[in-house]
């Protein structure tokens, strides 16, 4: 089967550039390669600062790539200009960690969910509203939420709104950047289950970015462990969990074992 996205030797360097001073480059992502099949989930696991969020921003065309290719929809997305990439972006959507900052507090939920349609243009107000209501229903929120504002919602509800917004343009790939980390444990489970259901119903591919190996194991088909910008270990979930070879993976595994509450979520 043809993968949805294929990343080859992705490199992202940040140059700390200030006028008249030496530029010191920091390599956040160092030649990372992976691919994701339709309807499957790849979990990108790593400690904070390991470069996994930079991968997410590069894939979503929100940061320019230093070198490497990102094959998506038959073209190399990394080589596209800002203007050209606007056409591609709707098909691969990103959901951020903190739903409090990813929703504009001045807008109503209905406006937020339908915003991609507004950007796309040529969608009548009425249709936007209907599709926003449908989108909300898909993530388990009723049409009564349309007129609410983000401040009136709980963290879990906000994350549902963010997911509904990401899905409204019917993307092929969803990049989930630490979407569960800002939530309470009980809510984490609910959102995780919602993600699984959505994947089944819509045939989405996920890039699930997390520092929580247990949660990754629960959701993903395949796991890639990142450390200092590189993928240090990659394979099917079972293989990684059973025989973690790298010290980094073992550390992460240990960290999640200590976390009893996360354990409880996994059992559910």
């Amino acid at each position: 089967m043809e993968p949805v996205i294929r990343v080859e030797n992705l490199v992202k360097r940040y140059a700390s550039r200030e006028l008249g001073r030496r530029a010191a480059a920091f390599t956040a992502v160092d030649s990372v390669s992976f691919s994701i099949l339709p309807g499957s989930t790849l979990a990108l696991v790593g400690e904070s600062g390991s470069g996994k969020s930079s991968v997410a921003l590069c894939l979503a065309c929100l940061e320019p790539v230093t070198s490497g290719q990102i094959w998506f929809d038959g073209r190399d997305v990394a080589a596209l200009s800002e203007r050209e990439s606007r056409a591609v972006r709707p098909k691969l959507q990103i959901v951020f960690q903190d739903p409090a900052t990813s929703l504009n507090p001045r807008w109503t939920v209905g406006e937020i969910v339908a915003e991609p349609l507004l950007v796309k243009g040529r969608v009548a107000n009425r249709e936007r509203r209907e599709r926003a209501a449908q989108g909300l229903e898909r993530v388990g929120l009723g049409a009564e939420y349309l007129e609410r504002r983000p401040a009136e919602l709980s963290g879990g509800q906000r994350q549902r709104v963010a997911i509904a917004r990401a899905l409204i343009l019917e993307p092929k790939l969803l990049i989930l950047d630490e979407v569960l980390s800002a939530l309470d444990c009980s809510i984490q489970g609910q959102i995780a289950n919602l993600l699984v259901e959505l994947q089944r119903a819509l045939g989405l591919a996920y890039l699930f970015i997390t520092h929580d190996l247990r949660m990754a194991a629960h959701l993903a088909d395949e796991i890639a462990v990142m450390s200092r910008g590189k993928i240090v270990e990659q394979g099917a979930v079972e293989t990684i969990l059973r025989g973690a070879r790298c010290a980094e993976t073992q550390n992460l595994l240990g960290a999640s074992l200590v976390d009893r509450e996360t354990e409880a979520v996994r059992e559910r």
């Binding site: 006028l19 979503a60 065309c61 929100l62 606007r86 056409a87 972006r89 709707p90 959507q93 990103i94 951020f96 903190d98 900052t101 990813s102 929703l103 504009n104 001045r106 937020i112 915003e115 991609p116 950007v119 796309k120 963010a162 917004r165 990401a166 343009l169």
Partner: protein, 348 residues
Amino acid sequence: MSTRSRLIICVLVLGALHLGVACAGFFAPYDPATQDREHPYAPPMWLHFLDAHRGIHLRPFAYAQESQTGSFDEYEENRARVIPVRFFVSGAPYRVLGVLPLRLHLFGADVPVYLLGTDGYGRDLLSRILFGGQVSLLAGLIGAGLTLSIGLCIGAAAGFWGGWKDEVLMRVAELFLALPWIYLLFAMRAFLPLAVPPVKAFLLVVVVIGAVGWARPARMVRGIVLSAKERNFVRAARGFGATGGYLLRRHILPETANVVLTQAAVLVPQFVLAEMTLSFLGLGVPEPLPSWGNLLASLQHYNVLVSYWWMYLPALAMVPFFLGYLVLASLLQGSSRATKIEVASAGV
């Protein structure tokens, strides 16, 4: 009282003050340019309710002022001549907001009544203060609008584009901040023609004042745009293909609304004062158009300063407006610490 209701009260009071000045023609008994050569430097007349025989009048009245023989500016109250004040009388024609022609005045009398006295040409000071307020406040309001528009455009451009354009724009802004602003105002005024008709002079003053102060609001707007650009909801909008124009219009500029409003409340009185200063020094709005600044200009003459205390009254006209704007600014700036320092220092 909640901040919101205080804000509403403050806006209402300020609105009423501005409305009063906007309807100067109605509250002022005379045309600001009408001269009464019989009564130069007439002192303010008091309104009385009790007459010399201890009779109570329901309608307020004034005593006529008659100049003493042999003096041109000393007057005596003639207790025998009672001038009753009438309300809602027809008088000198004027236009409300420059459009609607009317003759109705709040009060008037058969013989001229000068509640705040007259100037050297016998022009009614009350009428001149009210009409002068129109000029000065309009200069402040338009000037502030101009400054904020420039500041908003430059700040948004610098913050949104970033890179070398940001660098260049902010260096220019620093340049404008580095000059003591009144000297800058002078410098700009210096190279523009001096003797011009009043309306043109007014526009000139407004443009000069408006062009001087843009740097600080631009820096503040830039800061907000920079942080708004990195918000996740802006990133998300970019993620589904939004253009720069869309992001600015829908997400980024609305974030600056609070700062722009607060700055407006700070800048309007500051710019009214700038107009007053320029006109006071003879660089602003010229006679016969009255403005709070040029009404005070005669105080530069020693004899006026010493002899006619009421000529000082135009300086106090600004005080209620200053108070209103000060309260408004402090209510608007709310709880945000970062803007508080900037706002207050803008008042320096």
